[in-house]
Subunit: 227 residues, 2 copies
């Protein structure tokens, strides 16, 4: 008996969270179409990481969509004149990229509609995270509500679901979940300012959250740092 | 006394509706930042039209954002193998571009946040239109609700408004409104498949709606057709 194929679009940055999200989607039986964005980010080695992760976890396809968010600026991740902070600070940090997840989810929505997919996965997390507004559950719910009015598929009765399976998990639990699903975290890059070989700075917000997560999870940390 | 500057991002396709929308935003006192998208559409002469309209109507800036929606396909406007229909048909036509307005509004949201603008204008219309789901008022309201959870500006208390001043107007009223505001409709291109000189086919859905609108409005129709 053949089960019907369920396609899903999975946003894949190349970091730890999105790799785990892809593994979860696969474990739930989805044929996964991984979508990365080359959005002018300074940490572009993450795109190579995304390609490795997509292949290792058996994504059906991996597409890197070019979109020049650096043209808008306004973020340390897209504007070289704004330094990546290396100490925790109050409020939403300068690494926030204006409307990034809204743009990425919109692209995923377009691809999903063309594929006939009713499911989009995103590795957003609102526990051990940088305080980005577009990682919060209430935002993701609002996007889903909008998506269900936006498309021909919706008008014709399909229901689009935005899955954020990590949204309520501490980083350590994400790491354990990924490890149990066989994610090779050595393929992933979380650092906001890795060197050209993909080695992590160890000082940015993303590095700090990652390092603490591995320690708390009791999982060996494969992150590469410069000697 | 100097009034505070109010910035707005205005989506500008180069057609009649978005030109009128830009004129309305200007008439309401906004400094207008016009945003067009080169999304792989077959009717790219509309981008030249957008540039002319932005200049004629005094936009503060005009930016053409490149985004390759043709990579996803699924529409007669982005896939040369799907013909533009030249007769009315039931349902949502094949000129629908998956998630187009969601992507365009997301880009507008990003630019608005960087500019410190709390207002986005879109020429969506749900009366004399092609039945696109992402032109309906309920969709636009859902996008606005999502946008107000998506950004740092929203978290910090700003309220983003999505303005669709044409949404409930018949085409003839849009044309009269634009004419009263001094829009030179001769600069605009509505046709889905204009020739390289920007002359309209006269047969596609968009041409039919435009031609009927000018006739009903009693406004001279400057549309150029091939001899």
């Amino acid at each position: 008996m053949n089960l019907p194929v369920k396609n899903a679009v999975v946003l894949l940055s190349g970091g730890l969270d999105s790799a785990t999200t892809l593994a979860i989607a696969k474990s739930e039986g989805f044929e996964c179409y991984a979508l990365s964005a080359d959005y002018g980010q300074r940490h572009r080695v993450e795109l190579d990481a995304a390609a490795r992760v997509a292949q290792a976890l058996g994504a059906r396809a991996h597409r890197v969509f070019r979109i020049d968010l650096a043209a808008f600026g306004g973020s340390a991740l897209t504007d070289p004149s704004i330094a990546v902070p290396e100490k925790p600070a109050e409020g939403i940090p300068v690494t926030y990229v204006p409307a990034r997840n809204t743009i990425l989810l919109s692209l995923a929505l377009a691809w999903a509609e063309v594929l006939g997919a009713n499911d989009i996965f995103i590795g957003a997390n609102a526990v051990d995270y940088s305080g980005y507004p577009d990682c919060r559950p209430e935002y993701l719910q609002a996007f889903e509500a909008m998506a269900n009015l936006a498309t021909r598929a919706a008008v014709e009765g399909a229901r689009m679901a935005i899955h954020a399976p990590l949204v309520d998990l501490p980083k350590a639990q994400i790491i354990r979940r990924g490890a149990n699903l066989g994610v090779d975290f050595g393929l992933t890059v979380s650092c906001y300012q890795p060197d050209p070989e993909g080695r992590a700075c160890g000082r940015c917000d993303s590095c700090r959250l990652r390092r603490a997560g591995f320690a708390a999870a009791g999982v060996p940390d494969p992150t590469r740092y410069p000697p």
